[in-house]
């Protein structure tokens, strides 16, 4: 058993040399592989749920699929107050599904793609572009620029800062929560491993040597802490991210 604690870093499986100056080499990391697994899971689930659809006398599976769609519709419609943002529904739903599945996939031992800042940054940038384009669409480009000088011109730097803080805070909030879950899970496993090694090392002879290499105490407790750090935190962060997305875009459309 190693005595020092190491966080579970994202592995790089292949490096493809591209020679592009700023982007650098294309690295196929654990993040990307697991992201694709997540996408396959979500799409497979969608296809499974929407098989054999009927108008009447529906199956439980179809009822569940309809419930999911209605939930997505209601989530966006209730938070934007109307049908104006119906185009956002698939986007928000995809974001939520990807986020939840990515967060929870750590339960089966894979490394969450959301424990990589690049993932959240990508999402946050997309959302930021959507917010900005909505603002420009609502107020015109001049109106958008003028919006930075409200309520007084002196506020302009702060307004720009707060505008930029939106995607940064969204990305970092989500990333930080998931990463902390990963770190704490790692810590708990490491500590329990050490504890069981110390405990079973007390048994003399070959039996004690053998047992002390197995982190027996690691069974049980992580499942309990996982309820919060994986399940609750994972679902909560996905929800918060989507909620903020919808709210920001709805607000952007209202600013006059």
């Amino acid at each position: 058993m190693s005595q020092s604690f190491e966080v579970d870093y994202a592995k790089i499986y292949w490096t493809i040399k591209t020679g592009i100056p700023i982007l650098g080499d294309l690295k196929i990391t654990e993040t990307l592989i697991v992201s694709w697994i997540v996408m396959i899971i979500i799409t497979g689930l969608c296809i499974f749920l929407t098989r054999d659809l009927r108008v009447e006398n529906i199956s439980k599976r179809q009822a569940f699929a309809e419930m999911l769609v209605e939930m997505g519709n209601n989530f966006v419609r209730n938070n934007t107050g109307g049908n104006k943002f119906d185009k956002l529904i698939p986007f928000v739903s995809a974001l939520f599904a990807t986020s939840v599945v990515s967060n929870l996939i750590s339960l089966v031992g894979l490394r969450s793609p959301t424990a990589d800042l690049s993932t959240e940054a990508a999402w946050a940038i997309v959302v930021f572009i959507m917010i900005t384009s909505t603002k420009i669409k609502t107020n015109g480009f001049g109106g958008y620029l003028k919006g930075f000088t409200t309520p007084i011109a002196v506020m302009t730097p702060f307004n720009i800062l707060s505008e930029l803080a939106t995607p940064v805070s969204m990305a970092c909030r989500h990333f930080g929560n998931i990463l902390s879950g990963v770190v704490i899970d790692g810590l708990i496993y490491w500590a329990l491993g050490l504890a069981s090694a110390a405990l079973f090392g007390l048994i003399p002879g070959a039996v004690g040597k053998f047992l002390s290499n197995i982190p027996i105490l690691g069974i049980g407790l992580p499942a309990v802490t996982g309820v919060y750090f994986d399940w609750f935190s994972g679902c909560m962060q996905a929800f918060i991210f989507c909620m903020l997305t919808v709210m920001y875009i709805a607000n952007a459309a209202e600013e006059g």
Binding site: T29, A65, P90, A122, I125
Partner: protein
């Protein structure tokens, strides 16, 4: 010993920093997100929304049909009610017409009977009168011839037949009056 070998193997795999922004991962994740949006739209939202729309249309159609049926039933009811009222009025009309006709017929019958009776009575009276006249005339003739005979026998005197007749008739008229 085994464990150490495993550690060495995993350590040999390259890892990235814990908090870092990798441009390629960033770009690929954006693309992944949009692919996911497309997939979720195609495989979940489109079919489910289609089926929901279909069901909504079906429900709307049924409500519409029910409403139409109700309107039709209402109009039929109204029609029946009005025709029933008409039938009542017609029946009343027929009864009153029949009564009137019967009354008229009865009146006519009575009047005819009365007229006939009056006619019979009048004819009878006329017959009686005529018979009476005839009898009187016959009696007059009889009397005048008798009187002439008697007078001829009594007076024995030849009298002009015409004067004689006149004289006798005057007499009879005076007697008859």
């Amino acid at each position: 010993m085994n464990y150490m070998a495993l550690m060495a193997m995993t350590a040999s795999a390259e890892t990235q920093d814990l908090v870092t922004l990798v441009p390629w991962t960033f770009i690929i994740q954006i693309i992944n997100l949009f692919i996911q949006v497309f997939l979720i739209k195609k495989f979940l939202f489109k079919p489910i929304n289609d089926i929901l729309d279909k069901r909504r249309n079906l429900a709307d159609k049924e409500i519409k049909e029910a409403r139409e049926a109700k309107t039709e039933a209402d109009s039929l009811k109204e029609q029946y009610e009005s025709s029933l009222t008409n039938a009542h009025a017609e029946a009343a009309q027929i009864v009153s017409d029949a009564q009137k006709e019967a009354q008229n017929k009865a009146d006519t019958l009575v009047r005819d009977a009365q007229e006939e009776a009056a006619g019979i009575k009048a004819r009878a009276a006329a017959d009686i009168e005529q018979e009476k006249k005839k009898a009187i005339n016959e009696a007059k003739d009889e009397i005048s011839s008798l009187a002439m005979d008697i007078a001829g026998k009594v007076v024995e005197k030849e009298i002009n037949e015409a004067d004689h007749k006149k004289l006798i008739e005057d007499f009879i008229n005076k007697v008859g009056a």
